[in-house]
């Protein structure tokens, strides 16, 4: 739309351009941020006394695809009491921890979020992920294909055929419209094909001459050789097990020598679930201080926290063996969904309770990570939705980060023994709004390499959130409830230059775009590898090679990023 908007007088927080609460005007035209707008047809939004930020960029949230949908089907009880009635121009739907597609778009927009990444999509079922992403209104999206335990990848790495692996990765991103390379419990998923798992980076993967360490290093190199903007996105081995912080640090460390000094080369996701110390559940405690110390000293690593919310959740990951263990621990219903030649998935409903010692440790661990890691450009706010909590609770996490008082209010109700055994209670640090803007939008967009997102400079996509509180008149720490409320219901959300939300109500439903990476590499190499894959395809998969490909026309709005690979 050619709509012209002028957002006047707001307190602008735009960390990528170094703007820290200055009063500025932001001008929008034709869906982009421009230097200025003139004319009688300019819509003026008076943002006096309000906070203006780039629209939120959520780097890790399970919103679309086969396992998300299985989670929805599994849990009708999740939806009975949380629903959205249809309104003119808006479809009806349901929540709560696994909302239906229309509701996902509306609820993100209400919080001022405008871009969300689906971080784990099984390649064989990518068409399903794209179909659901298409049906999520308003927000822009991308998806990360699961490649760590893919047979082609493992075979190339096994034989040290890295160039071929690069070509294969280039092909799959292009063919499946993916955005980055996702690795989950490397080696563990192929082991789960036989009901097993791996316990560490140097375990042997059955029937493959390969270890998890080799998968990680191989794909890290592949990622660098292909110049993919986002580093390998990794869910580490031994998730959810006491004492696993050591494995997490080992995982971060296993690619340290590959660092080029330029930008992070490994992304570790929902680290809270991988940062436990102690040898058993009874002795469980937070390993966050050790992990934070490592991250502080090593710029090649970037993480997100996966913060626990004390509410209902639905655990769903590609970590099949972990999900089965969780079922055995809790006896809750369990879905398993292996995908041939590639990956697995598991779903188990869950509920985090304040008085429960283990859940309290989990809650503490996430916050310790966020508060002890000094560089906000390398630690991001997520709840690994819906694993640690629903995305609608992000404002609550913001509250805990900006205000020690907010943390105290919760700490009062949390298992006291867990508090005694950890450091959270002694931490005074409080995030500034500038830092919040980094960990929820600027930093995430930056590490994703989405140059048109996460900032308000000229040329950026006009994705803007205006929150109705005045940072000069309030004390963030004391008035955290006010801030939290403001983040729950954005005063305005603008997406692609259109006002989609006013005072926390969706006023317009639009269609978002799907971002993907379109890498170009040497044609000969690409042809050779595609020929190799095509020749093996029928032996590996139960579908034809051509059935695997996703045509660009399937995407409602396609936004490819051209990338020049280094091979």
């Amino acid at each position: 739309m050619s709509g012209k908007i002028l957002i006047k007088n707001g307190f602008v927080f735009d960390p990528m351009n170094g703007v820290n609460g200055e009063v500025m005007d932001i001008a929008v035209e034709n869906g982009k941020i421009v230097e200025e707008v003139k004319g009688a047809d300019v819509k003026v939004i008076d943002a006096t006394g309000m906070v203006v930020m780039p629209g939120g960029v959520d780097i890790h949230s399970h919103i679309a695809g086969s396992k998300v949908n299985s989670g929805r089907a599994l849990r009708p009880e999740d939806h009975y009491r949380d629903y959205e009635p249809r309104k003119p121009g808006l479809r009806s739907g349901v929540g709560r921890t696994v909302p239906s597609t229309f509701v996902i778009g509306y609820r993100y927009a209400r919080m001022g979020y405008t871009t969300v990444i689906e971080p784990a999509t099984p390649m064989l079922k990518q068409r399903h992920t794209i179909e659901e992403l298409n049906d999520i209104p308003i927000i822009d999206k991308a998806s990360f294909p699961l490649v760590g335990d893919c047979w082609f990848v493992m075979e190339y790495i096994e034989k040290n055929m890295l160039k071929e692996c690069v070509a294969y990765s280039a092909w799959l991103l292009k063919a499946l419209k993916g955005y980055a390379l996702k690795i989950v419990n490397p080696g563990g998923l192929e082991s789960w094909g036989w009901g097993g798992n791996v316990r560490g980076l140097d375990d042997n993967i059955p029937n493959f001459n390969l270890t998890p360490r080799e998968i990680l290093r191989g794909l890290c190199k592949v990622n660098q050789m292909l110049n993919i903007p986002h580093p390998i996105h990794v869910h580490a081995n031994r998730l959810g097990q006491p004492g696993n912080y050591k494995t997490l640090i080992d995982t971060m460390d296993c690619v340290r020598d590959l660092y080029d000094g330029y930008k992070p080369i490994i992304y570790l996701t929902h680290c809270q679930f991988n940062s436990y110390a102690g040898e058993s559940w009874i002795e469980l405690t937070s390993g966050a201080p050790e992990v934070a110390d490592y991250v502080n000293k090593h710029p090649h690593v970037v993480i997100d926290i996966g913060q626990v919310i004390f509410s209902n959740a639905t655990t769903m990951t590609a970590d099949g063996p972990f999900q089965f263990q969780l079922h055995l621990l809790t006896d809750y219903k369990w879905v398993n969904a292996d995908v041939e030649c590639e990956t697995s998935a598991g779903i188990v409903p869950f509920r985090y309770k304040k008085r429960n010692y283990v859940h309290a440790i989990q809650w503490i661990t996430g916050l310790e990570l966020a508060l002890m890691i000094k560089d906000p450009w390398r630690v991001f706010l997520t709840t690994d939705h819906p694993n640690a909590g629903p995305f609608t609770e992000y404002p609550r996490v913001v509250g805990w980060l900006i205000s020690r008082k907010a943390r105290e209010a919760t700490m009062k109700k949390v298992n006291a023994r867990a508090l005694k055994r950890t450091m959270l209670d002694s931490i005074d640090r409080e995030y500034s709004l500038y830092e919040i803007a980094i960990v929820t939008r600027a930093g995430t967009a930056n590490v994703l390499g989405l140059k048109s997102k996460g900032h308000l400079g000229v040329g950026a996509d006009a994705d803007i959130a205006i929150y109705g509180f005045n940072p000069r008149n309030i004390d963030l720490s004391r008035d955290y409830k006010l801030v939290r409320r403001a983040f729950r219901r954005a005063a305005y959300t603008i997406k692609g230059g259109e006002v989609v939300c006013v005072n926390g109500e969706v006023v317009k439903s639009t269609e978002g775009s799907i971002f993907w990476i379109n890498p170009s590499i040497s044609q000969d190499l690409e042809d050779a590898v595609i020929s190799d894959i095509r020749g093996k395809f029928r032996d590996y998969y139960t579908v034809e090679f051509d059935s695997y490909l996703i045509d660009e026309s399937l995407l409602v709005n396609s936004r490819p990023l051209q990338v020049k690979g280094g091979v």
Binding site: L74, R75, P76, E77, D78, Y80
Partner: protein, 293 residues
């Protein structure tokens, strides 16, 4: 009753007889389903009658006012607010939802999910009751003179727990899945019930005076099921424990030999199944297991 003296006794007696009986009748024959889940006795205490008639109901997909579909007549006084449903209510759903006091008396047939999640008060159905009667009941009592449908005192799909308290008596028969996911409370059915009574039960008591279909107590974790009539078979995941000469159900002592089974062992359950031996001679082979011990 005239309001005169201010003594406590008078005040109390004024209150008791100030509660009314309301007769509710459909104005026309319903063809489409009607959802009237706001209709419960306390609604009539909390709102004036004119406001009650404005309460929202659904007829198919059309939103309507209660007064467009039902006629309400005040018909005397009673100790508790009483709603008498006169006419065919078989297409009406969820009357008495979450009620906490008062009486609903259905003179004919009741529709789907009457008394859903009720906390107190009484529902009496003189005719047939539809499925999900008393679903997720928390307290109060339900009585049915006719037959009840499936999922009596049950739960909705996917929920952990159904009935948590209260009691119900069905003088006729009941359908399948009686007490599905029951956690506490008492269900008595005087006639036969269908398959799988007490399926997924974790507590409470189900007492069937007639016979039942297959699958009694399947997936049971705890609770008691008593069946006086014919039971086709017992699941292999139930273990025969002993013969009891009598058992107590609520305040009734039932005489007669009862086979007691414990299960569902595949769920590590410790629920108890009491089957009347005299009605189930085909199960007498279990007695040999005692001799073998």
């Amino acid at each position: 009753m005239k309001a005169s003296s201010l003594t406590l006794a008078h005040y109390r007696s004024r209150e008791v007889f100030d509660l009314k009986v309301y007769q509710i009748t459909p104005i026309y024959e319903f063809r489409l389903p009607v959802v009237a889940d706001a209709i419960k006795p306390e609604l009539f205490e909390e709102k004036r009658l004119s406001e009650v008639l404005n309460v929202e109901v659904y007829e198919g997909s059309r939103r309507k006012r209660f007064g467009e579909l039902f006629k309400v007549k005040e018909a005397g006084e009673a100790e508790e607010t009483t709603l008498e449903l006169i006419g065919d209510f078989s297409k009406v759903k969820r009357v008495g939802r979450r009620m906490s006091r008062g009486v609903i008396r259905v003179k004919g047939a009741a529709g789907i999910a009457f008394g859903e999640a009720m906390k107190g008060g009484r529902i009496v159905v003189e005719g047939l009751a539809g499925p999900w009667l008393g679903v997720k009941m928390k307290g109060g009592s339900i009585e049915v003179y006719g037959d009840a449908g499936d999922f009596l005192g049950g739960a909705y799909r996917g929920e952990d727990v159904g009935m948590r308290g209260g009691s119900m008596v069905v003088h006729g028969r009941a359908g399948w899945n009686v007490g599905y996911r029951m956690k506490n409370g008492l269900i008595i059915v005087e006639g036969d019930v269908g398959g799988f009574p007490g399926v997924h039960m974790s507590g409470g008591t189900i007492y069937v005076k007639g016979g039942c279909g297959k699958g009694a107590g399947a997936f049971m974790k705890n609770g008691r099921i008593v069946v006086l009539g014919y039971v086709p078979s017992i699941l292999a995941s139930f273990s025969f424990e002993e013969i009891r000469p009598s058992i107590r159900v609520e305040s009734e002592r039932l005489k007669g030999r009862f086979y007691m089974f414990i299960g569902d062992l595949s769920e590590k359950g410790s629920g108890r199944l009491f089957i009347n031996a005299d009605s189930n001679k085909h199960l007498s082979f279990y007695e040999q297991l005692i001799e073998e011990l």
